[in-house]
């Protein structure tokens, strides 16, 4: 398998000089990092020339401290039985990259979700504006600096009778001046 990986790396390096590879994994995995401009051409090449016909996954990772978003494509070759991780970095303030759904149709769904959840803009992506979020005006919610708990506290509210974290039955009894029956008392906190 290691010779096969070497051959694959050699072929990629011959065509994409800026590709930085990482090949120290014990299993059938290979990592390639490229500039974002190279992404469509390297994916086309991997699919059409190298037999990586299956797109497993596209992931966006937020590296907040470094001011970058990382996009990872996981490809699989059913013939060579090798996984390739193609990764690229985008500027976090202006994350724009090329759309790749002409290579794999299902990429469209991944891109729609990334656009909504991470704010990555894909040039040439044809899809309805909204995917999961409806009428969302705020910042992309899956980024690291979006505080989900604070947002939930601001937007939603606790059911009355729960604010003191007491037993609901006790709170209601206190509020309405009711007597808790004896059989229920043993369940009180």
């Amino acid at each position: 398998m290691n010779e096969l990986k070497e051959v694959i790396i050699k072929r990629i390096k011959a065509n994409f000089a800026d590709a930085a590879e990482r090949n120290d994994f014990k299993d059938n995995r290979l990592d390639i990092a490229v500039k974002k401009e190279t992404i469509p051409s390297i994916l086309f090449y991997l699919k059409d020339e190298m037999g990586f016909i299956h797109l497993s996954d596209i992931i966006c990772v937020d590296w907040l401290e470094e001011g970058e978003l990382e996009v990872v494509f996981i490809l699989w070759s059913p013939v060579d039985k090798i996984k390739v991780f193609v990764r690229t970095r985008l500027d976090r303030d202006n994350p724009v990259m090329d759309n790749v759904d002409m290579i794999w149709r299902q990429a469209n769904t991944y891109e729609r979700e990334m656009r909504e959840m991470f704010g990555v803009q894909f040039t040439g992506l044809v899809a309805p504006d909204e995917f999961i979020l409806e009428d969302w005006q705020g910042p992309p919610p899956f980024r690291r600096d979006f505080d989900t708990a604070a947002y939930a506290e601001k937007t939603f509210w606790q059911r009355p009778g729960r604010e003191d974290a007491q037993d609901v039955r006790e709170t209601i009894a206190k509020r309405d001046g009711e007597e808790i029956p004896d059989f229920a008392k043993k369940y009180s906190r």
């Binding site: 497993s56 996954d57 990872v72 996981i74 996984k83 149709r105 299902q106 991944y110 919610p141 989900t148």
Partner: protein, 367 residues
């Protein structure tokens, strides 16, 4: 004469839809001219929630990614963590995991039998197969304490060893279910209504299947032999003897046949697992989970579920919490781009049948 187009909303509350999602179809007469999947009724932001939990606490969320078959998700997460950390898993644990996965596969297929037949108005099959599925759920309950959500496979192995006499119970259940398969065939595949409603409906060609990223039983129903258990073996699948059934045709009928045959293969795998399972440790203990850090890096582990490839991608920045986790579900591919495409030209009465045949699971789309 061209008929006036009407828009129909199938879902989110509809008996023929497999969960909380909507298919908006534009029909002319009975024929669909445009279909659009609308999601957003169920999103729980599990991936974001996992970032605020430590590596072990994610498990209460993981099983809720897909309710009918939660075990492949747990297994892929556990294996991704083990890959990243380099943690060894005892051989016995691997066999127990395969046992779990195959039992879950059978249970999910039996539930699917019910859904597929109910989408065609045939309700008896569902009552039989979902009734029989309870025997599998009984096994899960004894082994894990939970019937649906197990949280049993975790990093380092499994949560507990098989109880006394459990293997015999599994074998007895397998004998019973194997006998029942004949009844299923009589009721389902010999049924003229089922044949007429499924043959030649929802056809996916081989070329289209590859182009649109189809996986799992749907791809095997197009005549392409592809199964992660064989192609990229995990756990102990490479030591077990089983075949991957395929069918030409690419219609609902072929996909149903593939699933039906896979149940027999699962029974075969489970019998081998019971026979070959070694004794010994079942768990390679992890450190205190509140102080447990994983090395920097990322890992992707994938598992063959009843819907196809599911996978978990995890990124660690060296802390006690994940930097990012991402779940790849098969329904994410099947339920949106593919479903929208193959519904065009079909009869509006077949929407539910086609959707069920693709195994669309909305909680997987909206994690």
């Amino acid at each position: 004469m061209r008929e006036k187009a009407t828009t129909l909303y199938i879902g989110p509350q509809h008996p023929g839809i497999t969960g909380n999602m909507m298919v908006k179809v534009k029909v002319e007469g009975d024929t669909i001219v445009k279909a659009r999947t609308e999601v957003g009724y169920l999103h729980r932001a599990f991936e974001k929630l996992q970032e605020s939990r430590n590596w072990l606490q994610s498990f209460t969320l993981l099983c809720r990614f897909c309710v009918p078959e939660p075990d492949p998700v747990e297994e892929s997460y556990a294996r991704a963590v083990e890959l990243l950390e380099g943690r060894e898993v005892p051989e016995r644990a691997k066999y127990i995991r395969v046992l779990m996965l195959e039992l879950a596969r059978m249970g999910a297929y039996m539930l699917w039998f019910g859904g597929q037949n109910a989408s065609l108005g045939l309700y008896t099959m569902g009552q039989w197969s979902v009734g029989d599925r309870n025997y599998i759920l009984d096994l899960f309950e004894e082994l894990t304490g939970g019937r649906i959500y197990h949280m049993y496979i975790w990093p380092g192995g499994v949560r507990r060893d098989l109880p006394e006499g459990f293997a015999d119970k599994v074998l007895r259940t397998m004998d019973y279910l194997e006998k029942r398969l004949k009844d299923y065939d009589d009721l389902m595949f010999e049924n003229t209504i089922f044949q007429k409603r499924t043959q030649g409906v929802g056809v996916i060609s081989k070329e289209k299947a590859v182009e649109w990223g189809v996986v799992g039983p749907v791809l095997r129903g197009c005549g392409i032999k592809s199964d992660i258990r064989i192609d990229d073996p995990y756990e102990v699948y490479d030591k077990l003897d089983f075949i991957v059934p395929t069918h030409e045709g690419g219609d609902i009928w072929s996909r149903a046949l593939v699933r039906r045959q896979e149940i027999r293969q699962s029974i075969r795998i489970i019998r081998q697992v019971i026979e070959k399972m070694p004794s010994g440790e079942y768990y390679n203990r992890i450190p205190n989970p509140f102080k447990w850090t994983l090395p920097k890096g990322d890992a992707y582990a994938r598992t063959e579920s009843v819907r196809g490839e599911v996978g978990m991608y995890i990124v660690s920045d060296g802390s006690t919490h994940p930097r990012r986790t991402h779940f790849r579900g098969a329904a994410y591919v099947h339920g949106i781009t593919l479903l929208e495409n193959i519904l065009v030209g079909e009869n509006v009465a077949d929407v539910s049948a086609i959707m069920n045949s693709l195994g669309v699971c909305p909680p997987e789309i909206e994690r």
